[in-house]
């Protein structure tokens, strides 16, 4: 039986990176995710798997180290929290523009500005809608448990290399700081040189006689070249939307009312669904696990089944816009959120739900 360990979500990220053959981590301390780099430094993976771990001078530098590492075809990652991710957005845009695979972990805290160190989900728009400049998307995965934090590292890299795109693991302070049981999956070694060349023939591995030299760039000064490249990117995103949208459902089969929530909010909404069911109200929950691509298709189907939907987020109402786009007017869509690091209780959500639906 696989070993089960009690650990924080942030620690799970670090342990998973080492155990899943990640080649390099580059980061900068920021609450509430500093345990990621602290755990890596404590574990000293450079002595075991050969993984490189480096504390950079800034988030700007971290993401550009990730860019450099990704150019060479390595599995590289960084982690930060909201204000740090703002600094990284330039780099993420470059990574998308240069079609480079990498993993960026955002353990969200409340903003804007320096904000609060308490948990939040207010970077949905930043991470799902771009954040950096230009027409690009990153694949966004939303973990809801320490086990997800562990598992999504490997899943993230799989998607990143499959589509040559940055993947963002969008967590929150609760998932990052909470300790839960984590099952350690089978160890994956780091890729060998041959495996790397097979997985990333485009990489800057040194020009050999059997190929032209490789250039990793996001520059295309000619409009037609840039437009053609953008069309290629959009085709890739379309394929991602068609193939990779992932969600889970809870009590939706006969649901008359639907909650939509991601990350820690989805966990809290499960309790709300249980409570409402006990009161005879047929509630259900859809948890988008990927935020880009979004569960648009399934929400459109459910909009014909339920009387209303409600998006529950630790922000001022961001994902609710995507829910409304998916539903396209087919049923009323409400929103309830908390901000500034405050967390709703199941009772509070149930009250907001009843108010929105005129129920007692």
């Amino acid at each position: 039986m696989a070993e089960k360990i009690l650990m924080k979500g942030n620690e799970a990220i670090a342990v998973s990176a080492i155990r899943n053959g990640v080649d390099g981590y580059f980061g900068y301390p920021i609450t509430p995710q500093s345990e990621v780099m602290e755990t890596l430094m404590k574990e000293k993976p450079w002595e075991t798997t050969g993984m490189v771990v480096l504390q950079a001078e800034s988030e700007t530098s971290s993401i550009n180290m990730v860019y450099g590492g990704a150019c060479t075809g390595k599995k590289v990652m960084t982690s930060s929290s909201s204000p740090g991710i703002s600094l990284m957005c330039e780099g993420i845009s470059y990574l998308a523009g240069a079609e480079l695979p990498c993993l960026v972990v955002n353990v969200m805290r409340g903003g804007p500005g320096l904000g609060t160190i308490q948990p939040s989900q207010s970077d949905y728009n930043q991470c799902v809608k771009g954040g950096g400049h230009g027409d690009y998307n990153a694949i966004v995965l939303a973990p809801a448990s320490a086990q997800d934090m562990y598992d999504f590292v490997d899943w993230g890299f799989e998607l990143a290399f499959k589509y040559r795109t940055p993947v963002i693991l969008l967590a929150d302070g609760i998932v990052g700081q909470m300790m839960e049981k984590v099952e350690l999956r089978e160890m994956k070694p780091r890729r060998t040189k041959e495996e790397l060349l097979a997985a990333a023939p485009w990489a800057t591995t040194g020009k050999t006689a059997d190929r032209p030299y490789n250039v990793i760039t996001s520059l295309a000064l000619e409009s037609d070249v840039q437009e053609k490249f953008n069309q290629k990117l959009q085709a890739k995103y379309k394929e991602i939307v068609e193939k990779e949208a992932t969600h889970t459902e809870y009590m939706t089969e006969d649901a008359e009312y639907l909650f939509v929530a991601f990350g820690c909010s989805a966990r809290i909404c499960e309790a709300v669904v249980d409570d409402l069911r006990e009161q005879g109200i047929k509630a259900g929950l859809l948890r988008p696990v990927t935020l880009f691509p979004f569960a648009t298709k399934r929400l459109a189907e459910l909009s014909k089944q339920v009387k209303s939907m409600m998006s529950i987020e630790l922000n001022a109402g961001q994902m609710v816009e995507d829910v409304r786009l998916a539903v396209n007017g087919a049923c009323p869509v409400g929103f309830y959120g908390r901000q500034g690091g405050n967390i709703y209780t199941p009772d509070e959500i149930a009250d907001a739900f009843k108010k929105f639906n005129n129920l007692k």
Binding site: K4, I5, L6, Q118, P119, G173, I174, Q177, M178, M179, E180, K181, C264, R267, I268, C269, E270, A271, V272, D274, G341, N342, I343, Y344, T345, P346, D347
Partner: protein
């Protein structure tokens, strides 16, 4: 089975590590657990809270407002959490420094004089294990054999000589808890 616990006291009383040892022990018994340090304004003022959920099923919300058990180690926490115990639930507290004792009549109230227990064992650091012993006596959800394993997971190998001391404190705590 699902047990929702709040452990609250001053920083330095070992509140967070007690929660961790309890949670790890439950994992050794193949239970699901969540351990969450408290967020929000209640973090201020030097108090430390952790909510621990033990369950035989997958745990949904880690955020709860009503607890099956409140373990209360200072007055602020008493004021804050006495009313959060579910009817029929358990409130375990250390009377040391408590000026207003619990008044609820619809719950079980227990006292553990954990400072005395720690003094008896001869090490003030095992204060929190005395409290945990009292809790396990009242709610024997985790077998001692798994508590041993949980302790071994939480205490770094270089301090392994402390495991016996912690165990002694747990046992003394079990013997010293008083139901009111």
């Amino acid at each position: 089975m699902k047990e929702e616990i709040i452990i609250a006291g001053f920083g330095g009383q070992g509140v967070l590590s007690m929660g961790k040892i309890l949670a790890y022990s439950a994992i050794m018994q193949d239970m699901e657990v969540t351990w969450m340090p408290s967020y929000g304004p209640e973090m201020r003022g030097g108090t430390a809270n952790v909510s621990v959920i033990l369950s035989d099923k997958k745990i949904g919300s880690p955020i709860v407002t009503k607890y099956d058990t409140a373990i209360i180690l200072n007055q602020q926490s008493m004021d804050k959490f006495e009313q959060s115990v579910k009817p029929g639930g358990l409130l375990l507290y250390d009377p040391n420094g408590i000026t207003r004792h619990p008044e609820r009549t619809d719950i079980t109230i227990c006292r553990i004089d954990a400072i005395d227990v720690a003094a008896k064992v001869g090490n003030s650091k095992v204060y929190n294990m005395a409290v945990m012993g009292a809790y396990l006596k009242m709610k024997p959800l985790v077998d001692m054999v798994n508590v041993d394993k949980g302790l071994a997971k939480c205490i770094p190998a270089r301090y392994s000589d402390l495991i016996a001391l912690n165990k002694q404190a747990i046992e003394e705590g079990m013997n010293s808890v008083v139901t009111l």
